[in-house]
């Protein structure tokens, strides 16, 4: 088990900067999610930790040792690829034992380790099959078994659930988290699914366009996004944004005004106000018109048009709304973002 420290990691592919000055520390035994949209550089960062890619600039430390120039095999990491990369010409047993065979582990030892890891992942009766004879969920378990069998210091997972169907994904993610905690292994988990990151991770690192926007616990990321993008990327539905003007503790949005909380009293000028759909009461506040209503059983999502911008509000299911109803929205918790930089004020 190691602590990973990334220092100013930059990766260029030709002229293209895939990663730009990433600083990140991952604690021993921590489950860190790298969250970001497709193409943001998550896999690239994971591959740099694994040693598949060399960073153009920056250093990587495992505990206090600099591993930047170590080849992958000397880093003792396990990697589960997005497509699982099970060797098609090898049986499940051969796939799992491949890393051990290469290390010339004794036969008896191999058998013991395979038994242990396959039992843990409940695939002990699949050993004679070939990858193409397995379901997606089974293939994924085999890939995890192959990564774990060499008892790595770090487990790296690149969107391992993205090839599973939705129900299985929810089942497996709980199991995977349990497994990681049981083994106490340091894990870096790449995903573009914010729900997955919120559900599984101890901490989340949000990446966009090769830059690290925010690192924090799921609560921090959810409650206090430090960048407009983070708020808009996390939560379902995500955070609402409206343009406004702040002046002496009052926020003006179009014709309406709402009071600002204490911490924002000194803010003056054009801002973007963000608030979560759950954190809105319908009553006094920002004027709008009901645009559409979606019932979700116990609650409903009401989309309200405010000054031509759409705002989603989640309210209890028993209130009735009609299209065109005039409503007033009162956000209970807000975050202000700078209009230009889109970072939190």
């Amino acid at each position: 088990m190691v602590r990973i420290r990334l220092e100013n990691i930059t990766k260029e592919f030709g002229d293209f900067k895939a990663l730009d000055g990433i600083d990140l520390e991952i604690e021993e035994g921590e489950f860190m999610a790298l969250l970001g949209p497709s193409g943001s550089g998550k896999s690239t960062l994971l591959y740099i930790i694994a040693g598949i890619y060399k960073p153009t600039k920056g250093r990587i430390y495992f505990d206090d040792g600099d591993v930047t120039d170590l080849p992958p095999k000397d880093r003792n990491v396990g990697l589960v690829f997005q497509n699982w990369a099970l060797y098609p010409h090898m049986s499940v047993f051969e796939n799992i034992t491949f890393p051990l065979e290469l290390r010339k582990v004794a036969k008896g030892e191999i058998r013991r380790k395979v038994a242990e890891v396959t039992e843990m992942l409940k695939i002990e009766n699949l050993l004679d099959r070939y990858p193409w004879q397995l379901s997606g969920g089974q293939q994924q378990r085999v890939a995890i078994a192959r990564a774990l069998v060499k008892e790595p210091d770090v487990l790296l997972l690149d969107e391992p659930l993205s090839n599973l169907d939705a129900l299985l994904r929810i089942e497996v993610r709980a199991e995977l988290k349990r497994l990681q905690k049981k083994l106490g292994i340091t894990a870096v988990y790449v995903t573009h699914d914010q729900a997955e990151a919120l559900a599984m991770a101890d901490r989340i690192a949000v990446i966009k366009d090769g830059r690290l926007l925010q690192v924090g616990t799921p609560e921090e990321i959810y409650e206090r996004p430090r960048h407009k993008f983070v708020g808009g990327f996390i939560g379902n539905p995500p955070m609402n944004f409206l343009n406004g003007f702040a002046d002496r503790g009052i926020l003006r949005i179009g014709k309406s005004t709402i009071p600002l909380p204490k911490e924002y009293e000194s803010v003056r000028g054009e801002v973007i106000v963000g608030f979560r759909p759950h954190d809105v009461e319908i009553g006094e506040g920002i004027e709008g018109e009901v645009y559409s209503v979606e019932h979700l059983g116990r609650e409903q999502i009401v989309t309200v048009s405010v000054e031509g911008e759409m705002v989603k509000v989640i309210v209890p299911g028993d209130r009735r709304f009609e299209f065109g109803d005039k409503v007033r929205l009162k956000p209970k918790k807000i975050v202000l973002f700078d209009k230009k930089t889109e970072t939190a004020i």
């Binding site: 992958p72 095999k73 497509n83 060797y87 491949f98 890393p99 290469l102 193409w132 089974q138 090839n163």
Partner: protein, 287 residues
């Protein structure tokens, strides 16, 4: 829901019909050849088929068609053909598997140029090169007669193989290109060296490609006549048949038997190749 790969019945029928019609002349020609080899005279209509095994017996006794009495060793000729074909196949397979991997996976200087050069080289017909290739042959041919014979085999394999290599390298590069990088990375993370990954992971995955390249090269070597006649001191089936046709006194059914023997591996290998190429690794990558 219908599988993507199943075409509608009607268009499928049309395709099959077209294929059948297009192959009628070829199948007819081959059938007549094979039938004639078992007949006393060339089969041109139903009446001219008079069954006999004589042609095959004569062939294996090494009787040349021209005079009907001079003996050549048909087994030796077949063996010669086999040596050339296997030599070309071996050379082409080894070179194209290595070069294909390098071109697909390694970033080295001049990689682009090599790839363009391969295409250009492939565009040159073998006949166009033969003068230069012959000059080189003349210059390097040893004087000792035994050595000369051996060298002529070596040379024809090298020269004929060289003609096949550009296309085969392209083909192998394509097969390697189709393998996701993740397989290679996974192997390296598991602790394998690049060579071990190539041997234990990549090679098994491109097996269909290797077999295809080997089969095509084998047949190229087996069928070749121009290079063999120019450089090889010994005879192969191709030159043997050719030397028989040259005379107007030839006993054609005997040549038909030799022709059938000459075609046999081509047919067998294409049947095998077809199965291997279609088989591939179905569902190898993802569930």
């Amino acid at each position: 829901m219908r599988d993507i790969e199943t075409k509608s019945r009607k268009s499928e029928l049309l395709i099959i019909l077209t294929i059948v019609i297009a192959s009628v002349p070829m199948i007819l020609a081959f059938s007549l050849l094979v039938l004639s080899s078992f007949s006393e005279e060339m089969v041109t209509n139903l009446k001219s088929f008079r069954p006999t095994l004589e042609n095959w017996i004569n062939l294996f006794q090494g009787k040349m068609a021209i005079t009907g009495s001079i003996r050549v060793n048909i087994f030796e000729i077949t063996l010669n053909t086999l040596i050339v074909a296997l030599g070309v196949a071996g050379l082409v397979t080894i070179v194209s598997t290595l070069a294909g991997y390098a071109l697909s996976r390694m970033d080295f200087r001049g990689r682009k140029h090599v790839m363009i050069a391969l295409l250009v080289l492939h565009a040159f017909p073998g006949v166009a090169l033969i003068v230069g290739v012959y000059l080189l042959y003349k210059l390097t041919l040893p004087q000792d007669p035994d050595l000369m014979r051996f060298y002529s085999f070596f040379y024809v394999i090298l020269a004929r193989g060289a003609l096949e290599i550009p296309m085969s390298v392209w083909l192998m590069k394509g097969f390697f290109d189709a393998i996701p990088w993740e397989f290679e990375w996974s192997g390296i993370i598991d602790g394998a060296s690049r060579i071990t990954v190539w041997r234990k992971i990549m090679l098994p995955l491109v097996k269909p490609g290797i077999l295809a390249v080997a089969l095509f090269a084998f047949i190229a070597g087996w069928q070749d006549i121009i290079y063999v006649r120019t450089f090889l001191i010994d005879q192969t089936l191709a030159t043997f048949i050719e030397s028989n046709i040259e005379s107007e006194f030839s006993h054609m059914p005997l040549i038909a038997a030799a022709g059938t023997l000459y075609l046999l591996p081509t047919i067998v290998f294409f049947l095998i190749a077809q199965r291997i190429l279609l088989q591939g690794y179905s569902g190898g990558l993802k569930g």
